[in-house]
Amino acid sequence: MAETHEEFERRTGGYEWIPYWAAARQRELRFQRCTDCGQWRFPPGPMCPSCLSLASEWAPASGKAHLVSWVVVHPPVLPAWKERVPFVVVLVECEEGVRTMGNVLDATADDLRMDMPMQVDFAPSIDGDLVPQWRVAAG
């Protein structure tokens, strides 16, 4: 049965997150940015904590980041993930100064080093949606 809009919102962060996932389906990494003071804001929210503006845009990000931390997930996990354990989740800090997460592509935990450069890519999440993922930057 197809997922309802409400179910999608609930498992992916809610109303403010919809543009993040929508951009990723177009293979774009975008973050929320205040259109009044220009401050990047992520995770997204309705108000700019710097200038209290309610106006924002979803601006394209460079996709360049560095690795802040990572975990390797082992059981117990949700049923959908049982075949994939162990798997890696990374926390990255993007050039824009905001942090986000993803899985890693074409690498294992053994390949990861603190603060190494990372590059965004896009690959399906477990439910088939194209989502931002991260790979070790070349060179």
């Binding site: 919102e9 962060g13 809610g14 995770p43 931390s69 997930v73 082992h74 989740v89 926390l91 997460m101």
Partner: protein, 387 residues
């Protein structure tokens, strides 16, 4: 006006911890409340206020009408699961200091051993922090949903920047287990060594099974009343000389990775305020219950509450530093890691036992007792003193 010395913990009640308590949460909450009233030498008509965790399913009127409490003049709740514990006492003390209530019942009953897991969507529990944005699961498309993953993400960076190792985490698990071995109420009483910790299976690398608290069914209650009434009751009062809450900037529940400094927790803010209110220093503390849903939270608290400088918490916990007779006896009932995990209400009770002098691992002549709440979420702290 300050909360200092306005209120005291005068009673507590606790059912045995188990994997399956065999009764619904509203029944066990009532049983714990009855034990707490008997402990204090109070009757239900003495209760005129209640504070609960917002994640607690059983509401105050269920407790009040079944206990036969004629009227509640004050009732409120504190959010953020394990971050809420000390906040419930802070709210009770604030209500008492301001005259909103004279005698406040705090309760937490939770069937987390036999019931569902919130991260798997199989629990009835729902915190108000999940109402907008569901921030505890916004990285669900990456399989990142469990509290242990969220803490592990913090932990890897924390160990890296401070120079700590997973052996330091092991020392914390071992200290809790060593204390639990003397506590007949504790769920885990088999001896644990550093090697046992290191050999336990990975759950979210760098965290292992023995870095995690216990999935527990439990029910506990605490009674806070006016300081001037406390001295005439059955038990030696544990006076609230400091109580605080703290959130810090740009907080996200469990996923608190989006502020600066990255590694600073809400505990830093609760710490500052609790020391200031109580007008005491970390070195004055005789015994501490540092919130331990996961071992690394204790390392962070040792720094943030000022027991050691950043980078020194590893040496602090080594060689039994947290055990009875060590640098700072911590989690003397076995804590969330080895006694039971009920969002920290058992830590509040153990902090009170130490003041009464009745702990299974009693610190001789303990006069000042610290308790902290979960520091990966908005948190709180509590300082109790004898007389």
């Amino acid at each position: 006006m300050s909360l200092k010395d306005q209120a005291a913990i005068v009673g507590y009640g606790q059912l045995p911890f188990s994997k399956d308590i065999g009764k619904p949460e509203h029944v066990t909450a009532l049983e714990a409340a009855k034990i707490a009233l008997d402990d204090a030498g109070l009757v239900p008509a003495d209760i005129d206020g209640m504070v609960k965790w917002s994640i607690q399913v059983t509401s105050e009127n269920v407790i009040a009408r079944n206990l036969g409490v004629p009227n509640l003049r004050f009732f409120g709740e504190v959010g953020y699961g394990g971050g809420g514990g000390c906040g419930t006492v802070a709210h009770a003390a604030a209500a008492i200091a301001s005259g909103l209530a004279r005698c406040v019942l705090i309760y937490r009953s939770r069937n987390r051993g036999s019931g569902g897991r919130p991260w798997a969507g199989t629990s009835r529990e729902r915190d108000q922090s999940q109402a907008e944005g569901n921030e505890t699961s916004f990285f669900a498309p990456y399989g990142f949903v469990r509290p242990v993953d969220q803490v592990a993400m913090f932990t890897r960076r924390f160990l890296h920047e401070r120079g700590y190792t997973t052996t330091h985490l092991g020392w914390i698990a071992v200290a809790c287990r060593t204390h639990a071995m003397n506590n007949p109420m504790a769920m885990m009483r088999k001896p644990m060594t550093l090697a046992d910790h290191a050999a336990s299976r990975l759950i979210s690398d760098p965290l292992r099974l023995f870095d995690n608290c216990l999935e527990t069914d439990g029910a506990s209650a605490v009674i806070v009343c006016r300081a001037d009434m406390a001295k005439d009751l059955k038990q030696k009062p544990a006076y609230v000389i400091g109580a605080s809450q703290g959130m810090g900037p740009r907080n996200f529940t469990m996923n608190n990775f989006f502020k600066e400094p990255l590694l600073e927790s809400p505990g830093a803010y609760a710490a500052r305020d609790v020391w200031q209110m109580a007008d005491v220093r970390p070195q004055d503390v005789d015994v501490a219950q540092l919130y331990d849903a996961f071992t690394p939270l204790v390392l962070a608290s040792l720094e943030e509450y000022g027991f050691c400088a950043p980078g020194e918490a590893g040496a602090f916990v080594e060689n039994g530093g947290l055990e009875l007779g060590g640098r700072l006896p911590c989690n003397t009932s076995g804590g969330s890691l080895s006694e039971g995990y009920v969002h920290g209400i058992n830590l509040i009770i153990e902090a009170t036992r130490q003041i009464r002098g009745v702990s299974c691992n009693q610190v001789p002549n303990a006069k000042l007792s610290l308790c902290t709440s979960g520091n990966m979420v908005p948190t709180g702290a509590l300082l109790l003193r004898g007389d």
